[in-house]
């Protein structure tokens, strides 16, 4: 397939996942903020919103303003509305390659969200908008799997989605765990809810909420889709399928990175990770994901012309 097309479906998928992730986290965190305030809650909110794209400016913003900046500020490229617009923009470039149901769903969600965001005033509205995005996301992911040919383009959709998740989850864990000492059960419920993982966690560990168990689950669990390990396994599977579909090329660098990432999680023990430097561990995953993105990009999208002529 054309490199441009692969790049567009990849970014469509990444931006969509980014919007989805941001909505889940804001939704869960906003719910926590409705409880009587603790000093750590505000700090945690700041760290989370910083990692969601507000950076340092979040320090000067009151929570409501920060929320609006992340939800519907079109001048902020990390806002949910901007991410959905970017996903749609990429999809519109490759409308012929994705299914018409996908386009319709994305287009519909875009119009709903921009419309609602433009008129957002009342308190309850962020929550309603989160619900709209959550529903829209389930539907978009559903029609993508159900109506798109599971060929090369779909594999790039998968790769994009799990790349985004593989970067966003460690960032979220880092923001929350950097303030783990002041956290109570509600905070852990909030974190799990950000990943729609509360029920799944309980089935494994019961409702006994322990920080290291929560970390273990969201980092290392291999079967729940909203975990770091699952995301990396899916990236590996997608890249593996792509490599088999295109004629043999020099994929060594890419395979090394993804292999190292997989084994660092497959053979890891949570006690080891936490007792050493959790912050460093999480950030090294993000860095490796980034290297993987670059390697894949250089292999399939922006390869130098000369390399294509080497026998």
């Amino acid at each position: 397939m054309l490199s441009r097309v692969a790049d567009s479906v990849y970014w469509m998928s990444r931006y969509f996942e980014r919007a989805d992730h941001c909505a889940r986290v804001l939704d869960a965190t906003y719910n926590l903020m409705l409880n009587p305030s603790k000093p750590t809650t505000d700090q945690r909110w700041q760290r989370i919103t910083a990692r969601l794209g507000l950076g340092n400016e979040t320090m000067d913003l009151d929570p409501q303003t920060a929320m609006v900046r992340l939800l519907c500020d079109v001048t902020n490229r990390s806002s949910i509305v901007s991410c959905i617009a970017s996903a749609r923009e990429n999809a519109s470039q490759v409308r012929e390659q994705i299914s018409s149901e996908m386009w319709e769903k994305l287009n519909q969600l875009y119009h709903e969200v921009t419309h609602a965001a433009a008129s957002m005033e009342r308190d309850a509205e962020p929550l309603r908008l989160f619900a709209v995005i959550r529903e829209g996301s389930y539907q978009f992911n559903g029609v993508t799997d159900a109506t798109m040919n599971h060929g090369e383009a779909w594999q790039f959709v998968q790769f994009g989605k799990y790349m985004e998740r593989g970067c966003a989850l460690p960032a979220l864990l880092d923001a929350v765990f950097s303030l783990a000492s002041g956290a109570d059960d509600l905070d852990w419920v909030g974190l799990l809810a950000s990943c729609s993982a509360f029920e799944a966690y309980c089935k494994v560990y019961t409702a006994d909420l322990k920080p290291e168990r929560v970390a273990e689950f969201l980092l290392l669990h291999s079967e729940f889709p909203y975990t770091v390990r699952y995301a990396i396994e899916q990236m590996h599977a997608a890249l593996d399928s792509i490599a088999r579909m295109v004629s043999v090329r020099k994929a060594g660098q890419m395979e090394r990175i993804v292999g190292r990432l997989r084994s660092s999680l497959a053979y890891a023990q949570i006690d080891d990770i936490i007792s050493r430097d959790f912050h460093r561990f999480l950030n090294s995953i993000i860095e490796q994901c980034h290297s993987l993105h670059v390697a894949a990009h250089e292999l399939y999208i922006e390869y130098p012309i000369e390399s294509a002529f080497e026998a």
């Binding site: 054309l2 490199s3 470039q93 012929e96 792509i242 295109v246 090329r249 012309i305 294509a308 002529f309």
Partner: protein, 491 residues
């Protein structure tokens, strides 16, 4: 005469109650209440249908177009506005005997125009023989000096052509203009047929409508027949300016129908005079480009340096014979509206035949006496800029304001080479289902699509464009025109 008067006084029944025949040739009626033989089946069907049912059919058709996303973009406003292409419910019917003549005429015309293009870019015999003044060629803004001496496969310059025909009050078809660069609209012809089959399934069998669905295959074989020799697995692509182009829907549609890759300029790479597309499996050699990008934008190194729609080095690869462009570069010289006036001579010169399809009388503004005459009688003429298409840059005398006429008069005096004038023509009318639920006549033209590769292929029919506003003579989609399905009958 007495009988014909009494016939026109007779009124039309039922849904045709408001159908008023004018001066123009009417495709359906010879006279009030007297449909032409090839329209009889449709006529009686329409009379038997309750009006409500017609409305329902119209809604079904509109919905089907909407769902298929059959849209086009109108320029000249902020960003482009995407619109559903307006479609009329009733087919325009052409009997086979008339169609055969059209087909022969179009074949003759495209053959002569290709011979002309080859001559102009090589020996220039027609100029040396004084049949056409050389100046008119060299002053044409679509003449490409770079194409001199460039050999094109099979000597085919124009492999896809859309010729606009109109029918005069005497019933004869004449050529209004040739579109030899990147003619569009064929996707509307194809999708409109699909919708009509859902709505009037029985009428198709009853009337014996000749199929057009093989257009995409015919286009693909035409493109394949132009591939450079000695290449076993030829790769054919469609080059589009991108999603913001007004005809993007058509580009995507045709690429999908032919099963070829839809590429943009940024997908193409030229290396040592070979053209490649950038794929996830590496660079893939491209042999034939069905390009829907104008000459000027194809190669920033050879033409407009500010273009990002083409690929740097494409022209050099083309000249080296390593890639084929369809249509060839420089074909615009043959559809310049001033050169159009010479097409009958061109046919005579290369084929030694009389034209089967005539031209519309055309006055060149470079001719002093014609210019004076036209400038004094602008309200009676249609004035067109020679290098424009799509209904842009045009004055329709009878429907113009004094201020606009004054503006055109000044423009003509300033740049006479850039304008031609034609008498205002009464395009034929065809029945249309209009908003008030009645059937009324509207002016139409006909754009058949001609393919030229190994042989000439013309699918029976084409795009019938309709001036949807009552009395209007402008059929261009950019100016509020719509389309109809065109039925060429078996017998």
């Amino acid at each position: 005469m007495a009988t014909s008067t009494s016939l026109t006084e007779q009124t039309n029944p039922g849904v045709f109650g408001g159908y008023q025949l004018g001066e123009a040739y009417d495709e359906m009626f010879r006279a009030n209440g007297r449909p032409r033989p090839h329209y009889r089946a449709l006529y009686s069907r329409l009379l038997s249908l309750p009006r409500e049912e017609l409305r329902r059919h119209k809604q079904e058709a509109d919905l089907s177009f909407f769902n298929q996303g059959i849209t086009f973009t109108v320029y000249g406003r902020e960003e482009g506005t995407e619109r559903i292409f307006p479609h009329d419910l009733l087919p325009r019917i052409i009997p086979n005997s008339e169609w055969e003549r059209v087909e022969r005429g179009l074949t003759q015309r495209i053959t002569a125009l290709n011979a002309f293009l080859k001559d102009i870019y090589h020996e220039r015999k027609i100029l040396k023989d004084g049949c056409i003044p050389g100046e008119i060629i060299y002053t044409c803004k679509h003449f490409r000096r770079q194409m001199r001496g460039v050999k094109v496969p099979r000597d085919v310059y124009v492999s896809v052509c859309g010729t606009d025909l109109i029918r005069l009050p005497d019933g004869s078809f004449v050529v209004l203009e040739d579109n030899l660069r990147v003619p569009s609209g064929v996707s509307y012809m194809l999708t409109s047929r699909k919708v009509m089959k859902q709505i009037f399934p029985l009428m198709f069998r009853k009337c014996g409508v000749r199929p057009i669905e093989h257009y995409s295959q015919a286009l693909l074989s035409t493109l394949r027949s132009l591939a450079p020799e000695g290449r076993s697995n030829t790769t054919i692509v469609l080059l589009t300016p991108g999603v913001y182009n007004s005809a993007y829907f058509e580009h995507a549609y045709l690429a999908r129908q032919m099963g070829i890759e839809l590429v943009e300029g940024r997908d193409l790479v030229v290396h040592e005079d070979m053209v490649y597309m950038r794929t996830t499996s590496g660079l893939q050699r491209v042999d034939v480009i069905y390009r829907r990008v104008d000459d000027d934008f194809l190669d920033p190194l050879a033409f407009r340096p500010d273009s990002s729609l083409g690929a740097a080095g494409l022209f050099s690869a083309y000249r080296a014979g390593n890639v084929v462009l369809a249509n060839a570069m420089g074909t615009g010289v043959a559809d310049d509206k001033a050169i159009y006036a010479y097409v009958p001579k061109i046919i005579k010169y290369y084929l030694d035949q009389e034209p089967i399809l005539n031209n519309v009388e055309t006055l060149l503004m470079t001719d002093e006496s014609a210019r004076q005459h036209v400038c004094q009688n602008l309200q009676r003429y249609v004035v067109k800029a020679v290098g424009e298409s799509g209904g842009y840059g045009m004055l329709i005398g009878p429907h113009s304001t004094a201020a606009l006429r004054e503006e055109f008069r000044a423009r003509i005096e300033r740049e006479p080479r850039n304008y031609i004038a034609q008498p205002t023509l009464n395009l034929s009318t065809a029945p249309c289902f209009v908003d008030n639920g009645r059937i009324e006549p509207r002016h139409v033209d006909l754009r058949p699509y001609v393919l030229f590769g190994e042989k000439v292929t013309i699918v029976p029919g084409g795009l019938t464009r309709v001036a949807l506003q009552k009395g209007s003579l402008v059929v261009n989609s950019s100016q509020g025109g719509g389309s109809k399905d065109t039925w060429v009958l078996q017998s």
